[in-house]
């Protein structure tokens, strides 16, 4: 049987590949039309590097992050690459994802993205989906919810975050050149990060 982390990465790679054209189309509207293509290339390279028997979540995320740094090409390479590597650091040695582990991985990934992109919430980036998702996840856990319930709620917040990105002006990345014309378009990075969270939820629910 394939390890949990392999299942998650494989699910993410599948969902990114299915949404390749959709993500690229979103990026064509406000960016440089490469988000879907770049991520699909990156995750297909990740799937060549990881094995179903890779059980150590931390080491596998690190390997995946390193691959994304090299193979994605656009800004999402260093951003997701750093996020995966930082999440990998806090999950080193773990073979099963638990509620607290996921929370600290979430935190580390966000800190990594912020360090790399020097962005904050409200700039029409992936953070507008991931930060609300993390806040909801964390709140639900403190309210006593289990990991899956909390992650379901987090995915809802991420989707709301994607909707929110339609209402704001981009001030980071290529979309910032468009200024007010970026309003009305959802952010490709917020969209792809929501797809990744949904993929993880799918795997955890299927166990």
């Amino acid at each position: 049987m394939a390890s949990e982390i392999y299942e998650c990465l494989s699910k993410i790679a599948g969902i990114i590949s299915e949404n390749k054209d959709f993500l690229t189309e979103l990026d064509r509207e406000i960016g440089d039309s490469d988000h879907g293509i770049n991520l699909a290339r990156g995750f297909s390279a990740v799937m060549e590097k990881v094995n179903p028997e890779d059980a150590d979540i931390g080491a596998t995320l690190k390997k995946s992050g390193m691959t994304l740094l090299s193979k994605v090409g656009g800004a999402s390479g260093p951003l997701y690459g750093t996020a995966y590597m930082e999440a990998g650091k806090v999950l080193a040695g773990k073979t099963e994802l638990d509620a607290e582990g996921l929370k600290s991985a979430f935190e580390a990934a966000i800190a990594g993205i912020q360090k790399r992109g020097k962005a904050v919430k409200g700039e029409k980036t992936m953070l507008d989906a991931i930060i609300p998702a993390y806040e909801t996840y964390s709140q639900k856990l403190s309210d006593g919810a289990d990991m899956i319930t909390a992650l379901e709620a987090a995915c809802n917040s991420a989707r709301e975050g994607v909707e929110y990105t339609k209402t704001i002006i981009a001030t980071k990345g290529r979309a910032s050149y468009l200024g007010e014309r970026s309003i009305g378009h959802q952010d490709p990075g917020a969209t792809s990060s929501t797809l990744m969270l949904e993929a993880v939820l799918d795997v955890l629910k299927g166990k």
């Binding site: 740094l69 193979k71 656009g74 800004a75 390479g77 690459g81």
Partner: protein
């Protein structure tokens, strides 16, 4: 001699800027391109940049000149990768246009400048008027 790494989304741009730089600083061996992805596609690759930094360094440090978008992010990632490996090369990123900055940087480097003075020369190129 301070090494120079040219980071671009395009392999051709990185190579071309290096060719130009070599004309200005013949005999400088440490001008290294880090352009595009391994398969030739447009993009930046932090690992490729990290390898170029190591290749460019002769012990006197390295200045990076980069183009647009993810170049800076990938260059910063490359520097962290090297730090994580325990590699303590003195490497900085110049806030400068890639062609003009590189020409100024290599001239200063070939003249025996330090990382600080090479960085300063590269960044001063922003102020140079063309007309």
């Amino acid at each position: 001699m301070v090494g120079i790494v040219i980071v671009s989304h395009s392999w051709k741009i990185a190579e071309g800027v290096c060719d130009l730089a070599h004309e200005m600083a013949q005999g400088h061996e440490g001008i290294i391109p880090a352009g595009g992805l391994e398969d030739g596609s447009i993009g930046t690759d932090a690992q490729r940049i990290a390898d170029a930094i190591v290749e460019a360094d002769t012990g006197d440090g390295v200045v990076i000149l980069a183009d647009i978008g993810s170049s800076i992010m990938s260059a910063e990632t490359a520097i962290e990768l090297l730090e994580d490996e325990g590699n303590n090369i003195n490497v900085v990123i110049a806030d400068a246009p890639i062609v003009e900055g590189t020409v100024c940087a290599v001239v200063e480097a070939a003249g025996g400048g330090s990382v600080d003075s090479v960085l300063k020369s590269a960044e001063e190129s922003r102020e140079a008027s063309k007309l």
